[in-house]
Amino acid sequence: MSDTHAQSVAFVRDTAIPPSPAPANAAGPVKWMRDNLFATWANALLTVAAIYVIFLVLSATLPWIFGGLWTTSSLAECREVLQGRSAACFSVLTDRWNQLLFGFKYPVDLYWRPTVAFVLLFVAAAPVLFFDLPRKLLIVTALYPFIAYYLIWGGTIWAPLFALAGFGVGYYVYSHLVHRSFAIGFFGGIAAAIIAWVVGSYLTGALASETPFLEAVPSRDMGGFMLNMMLGVTCVSLSLPIGIALALGRQSSMPLIKWICVVFIEFIRGVPLITLLFVANVMLAYFFPPGSGVDLFLRVVIMITMFSSAYIAEVIRGGLAALPKGQYEAADSLGLDYPQAMRLIILPQALKISIPGIVNIAVGLFKDTTLVSVISMFDLVGMIRGPILASTDWNGVYWELLGFAALLFFVVCYGISQYSQWLERRLATDHR
């Protein structure tokens, strides 16, 4: 065997052949297309169908968008310029820009106030959303609700000042009582804050001047996208603490408290938001003291907050249930009492698990703020369907307006969901 082999070897290669490049159909874009677009016959058919669909959509919309007019003053003028050509009439957006954003009743010379409040919202939200920013910015966050209220509603400055003072008094009492027990500090703080607010409301009435520095704007004058933002931000931030309380209550070992929370949560989750908005519109006023005249905006905020807190409670309950039992037991064995265990051990972990769910609820809630147009509040959708489409100038400009509303909501909601994904990666402390 071996000598036949030895005789057949006439040439022994002592250097390696230089590697030749891969064939053209197994590398680069061609290979990528073969793998990802035309792997099988069915796949190729799908690709062609998809390209056809994209072509149909783009060929219809792109000329429409890029041929759009921005400067005409009415739809009739728009049609005159276009002369039968199919193109967008975006001038409705430039013409009614302020109405879309602020509603049609907010005083024109006061637009700067909600605008400043909107810009400040980013400053206030930044330290909550991004942990790397200096912690001192949280002071802005804490003060923001009062500043924003004062900017948007105006009127006497004493109302937000005394509201803030009430929180200050409450915190002062809490910090002096909390060493006795958390419950005493907590309830003492709440009681002190309520007393401060009652006193403050009388003082506000006495101190309010006839001509306040910032002119007062009633909340029925607010509308447009501003109303969506106000409802969304207020209700989400109010419903977070309530949702946490409800979730803890539902987990409680005290049957009465547990059942109160269960009934509340299941009732709210069982009915659509529209019925709750009907309640705010026509029914809730019956439950306030006669003659108190709580305005529609506040009633809507109350109902939407109840709605979203029930959903947030369920998300947080999921987070609480997902924690291993060892965490609860470890907290107990360290000798922590219930408030300490919750604050230091359980809630930080449970809330972290719940973040994606909470963000989903927040996005859903922000989208649902458009439903207030059903009870004749003029939010963005209400403005479009009401005053703008009903006006003689712009009767019939559907796609530009609806597309604008859709784009605005898409940008905000997609942005929030992208943030939540970033935060999830950021908070992932398990090593995977």
Binding site: D35, A50, F267
Partner: protein, 430 residues
Amino acid sequence: MTRNHVTLKVANNKVRDTGNSFMTTFTDPPTESFRLSMLLNDTRYRSGTMQAIAAILLALALFYLYSNLSANLKAAGLNISFDFLGSPAGYDINQTLVDYNSQSSNLQAAIVGILNTLLVASLACITATVFGVLAGVLRLSNNWLVRKLMAFYVEIFRNIPVLIWVIIIFTIMTAVLPGPREFRGDNATSSMFLDLFAFTNRGVYTPGPQFTNGFGGAIDWLLVIAVLLASLFATRAVAASADRKQAETGVRPKTLWVNLAIWFVPVIVLLTILGLTWEVPELKGFNFKGGIKIGGPLIALWFALSIYTGAFIAENVRAGIQAVSKGQTEAASALGLRSNRVMSLVVLPQALRVIIPPLISQYLNITKNSSLAIAVGYADITATLGGITLNQTGRAIECILLLMLFYLVISLVISAVMNVYNNAMKLKER
């Protein structure tokens, strides 16, 4: 401190004395008398105290709300009464499933509304599932373009309010589709699709089934449903006998043709006996007559809810399929199963366990979101009972309570179904 110490010593002595019965008395029970502060500080009483406080606060709050309510009602000269349900509604509803006219009572209007809600919700559940499953499966396709297109669909529809979608589709229905008169004459600008369907701005007209020698009323349809149910049971019996034969001989008999025959032959025979004909819509006067009219609001709501919820269902389906670990697929292939059997026997049963619960809660969302009907004028329960009836009778509290009760009942029924399913599908750990 010292007393405890002594007790401990005594106890230790006892242990030594009695040998093995050492668990008898380790310490004396606390003998201190009850103090008021123990209500808050002693864990034995604290929960009772908290609950008593909560009960008192709840009672106070309810009393406060009730007294406000009665004071306000008295001031407005109102009372709570459900008599209005029996009085004539006085308004017309253009899309009804049961007999209704403006002389019918408010209760009948509410029933029409309930049926309309259930109709749009069940239609939307079916189509949303189809869209969602298609998009969810295609999002996992190995075709890059299709994957991206489906991701685009999901993100676009999830991030824009459903109300805007309802309005957009309603606008297409009313502002883009041609009016009936454009179908008229020799130089008509629009024509019927396949000469069977008319898409007009007043709604879509489709051919409607008619029984020429049927019994009239709902009996014909009940017969058809009964036959279909019988076919269902028959096919299940066929499948069971095939299972038995496979267990005995190892060879599964072909059941495809038998099943097809069981499904189609009886129903076709029945429909021929009843004399099924299709009534095609025709342009008569200013409008189409005959066939089935599906109103624009219904289509807008149905389609918008389907594509919107379909985007959410797509994500659930994708998550469910991805939740089945790759080892399962590989193990099934290693057993020699072909890829369609791998899908139907191994992957899908496990994925369904993950997909079904969120799917059912999406159905619940569809039912609740169908209340958006009021934005486009579809006469569902919110638009009849909570809209026109409420405005005409002024019975706000009663109407809204009934409305909430209806949705609560639906939600509770759906969650009960979900619980039954979850218990049936729970992983049986032994």
